[in-house]
């Protein structure tokens, strides 16, 4: 089974209370595909500039990610600069240089068109639909979005949501999208827009999954050393979608396990800058952390 992701590949400069890095590998499609590569075949579509070093491409290849769709465009690679305080729950963006990402028009290679599952990372909702027009008939479509599109391109986003099975957003975005503060009500409103599954990411508080009538609360792992939350949401999405694609079943028990698998991958990712911690995990480490989540959430019947 194959999983197509369309999003960004970027250089991140990040400052946290624990350190600082400059122009390290980042971007939604990078975190997503690296995380998903532990579970399934991943096909990547993104654009980078002429300044993008071959070693990063080789890293993606090493993870057996198909980079046929990684377009090298004239100009510089998308750059993001941000910093976090001790709370680590929200980045303050210091600088954004869209560069080649500004004129990015996803061009889906022929050999990607039969992808079983599509993940539309956080890009312009017009482009998200453009991707869906180019693929044959995926069995599952998932998408992320953000406040920028909810505010600025609401109508287009609504058109995209009609085509989306799974929406992955954070709690603030769910509230903004629906005008409902209560997340149960927000979930119902989002279901009426198209998706039948909603994943609400709540950072250090874990994830709330709405899947049909079922609700599942996955905790976040209380880590002693959270180093850098950049990419945690995309890493979650990669583990979540990668696990679902590997099973290619969409029943509730699978989606619950996938939610924990996404949380497992995100818990690794925040332990170091960039993709350092998830570059080369042993599958045994992933299984071990999954069991720790199991222990973390376990309680007996009364």
């Amino acid at each position: 089974m194959s999983l197509l992701v369309v999003g960004s590949v970027a250089f991140d400069s990040v400052k946290t209370p624990f350190g600082e890095v400059e122009d390290v590998l980042g971007g939604s499609a990078t975190f997503f595909s690296t995380s998903a590569s532990y579970f399934t075949d991943v096909r990547l579509v993104a654009a980078v500039g002429e300044d993008f070093p071959e070693r990063h491409v080789n890293f993606l290849k090493m993870r057996e990610i198909d980079v046929t769709g990684l377009e090298r465009a004239k100009g510089k690679t998308f750059r993001w600069k941000g910093q976090y305080g001790y709370a680590l729950n929200e980045a303050e963006t210091l600088d954004t240089q869209l560069n080649v990402f500004e004129s990015f028009r996803p061009d889906i290679p022929d050999q990607y068109k039969d992808s079983d599952v599509v993940f539309l990372a956080n890009i312009d909702p017009d482009l998200q639909r453009d991707v869906l027009r180019q693929v044959d008939k995926p069995r599952l479509v998932a998408a992320d979005t953000m406040n920028f599109w909810i505010e600025g391109k609401r109508e287009s986003l609504m058109e995209t949501l009609k085509l989306v099975d799974i929406l992955l957003i954070n709690d603030g975005e769910a509230r903004q999208l629906t005008g409902e503060h209560n997340l149960v009500k927000a979930a119902r409103a989002i279901f009426s827009m198209g998706p039948s599954t909603l994943v609400i990411k709540r950072g250090e508080y874990g994830v709330l999954l709405f899947h049909g009538d079922a609700v599942f609360a996955a905790p976040a792992y209380p880590l002693e050393d959270v180093f850098d939350p950049t990419g945690a949401g995309d890493t979650f999405a990669g583990g979540f979608m990668g696990y679902i694609t590997s099973i290619m079943d969409f029943k509730e028990s699978v989606v619950r396990r996938a939610t924990v698998m996404g949380s497992v991958m995100a818990s690794f990712n925040v332990e170091d800058f960039s993709l350092n911690r998830i570059r080369d995990l042993d599958y045994k480490e992933i299984e071990g952390r999954y069991r720790e989540f199991k222990t973390l959430a376990h309680f007996d019947d009364i």
Copy 2:
């Protein structure tokens, strides 16, 4: 087995986006003892004024709470007035009239002195130690506190913490008490102050339990209608301590179940103003909600 609680009995005036009530029954000891009364024998110590109606005392008696220690003092009952916005996560205090609570000196009745378990609700840490001097030898001591004492009476609070087995506080208080933003580090710091169990209440995000080396994350139930969060923390503590006292075992599996039981009781409490929702629950309702928590948190092994 018997559970002694020392705290406040009060009149609350509360405004939420969903309604408004005036001078309704409230106070930490009231929420705590009502919640705990579903699980064990409760003995209450608090002070009320001459304006406190007999029907409230009769309600507590109806719940089989021992009110021998409910002192009726000259003056008026403690009054608190607050309001909540749509986020419902933090009350804005509009008015506090301590009244008889200002000169409250807990006087533990002789027949209470053999209590097995003691819960020191959020009162002056000097008074918390004063209570412990008056009881024989409880098998378990639990306490709550707040930012007011952490800032203003730190040394006294530290003396109290040496005598406390279980500390129940919210995440902001844990951070303020220890100067550690990371809750794993905060838990370790609190363990070095005395307690061997730490319950961190996180409102709509549930509860994080540190018990020796074990960590347990209990979700909060995603309710569609949260009406009034007043008393949720004390109602949690009542369910938690009441359940532990009923089993009188302090092993990890019991404390995990107690954490969920506290969350169950709190989830009922927020569904209506004052104690309206937890005045007269059917035990079957409690068991049913516990099973819903079980479903909410369940996922299979991979």
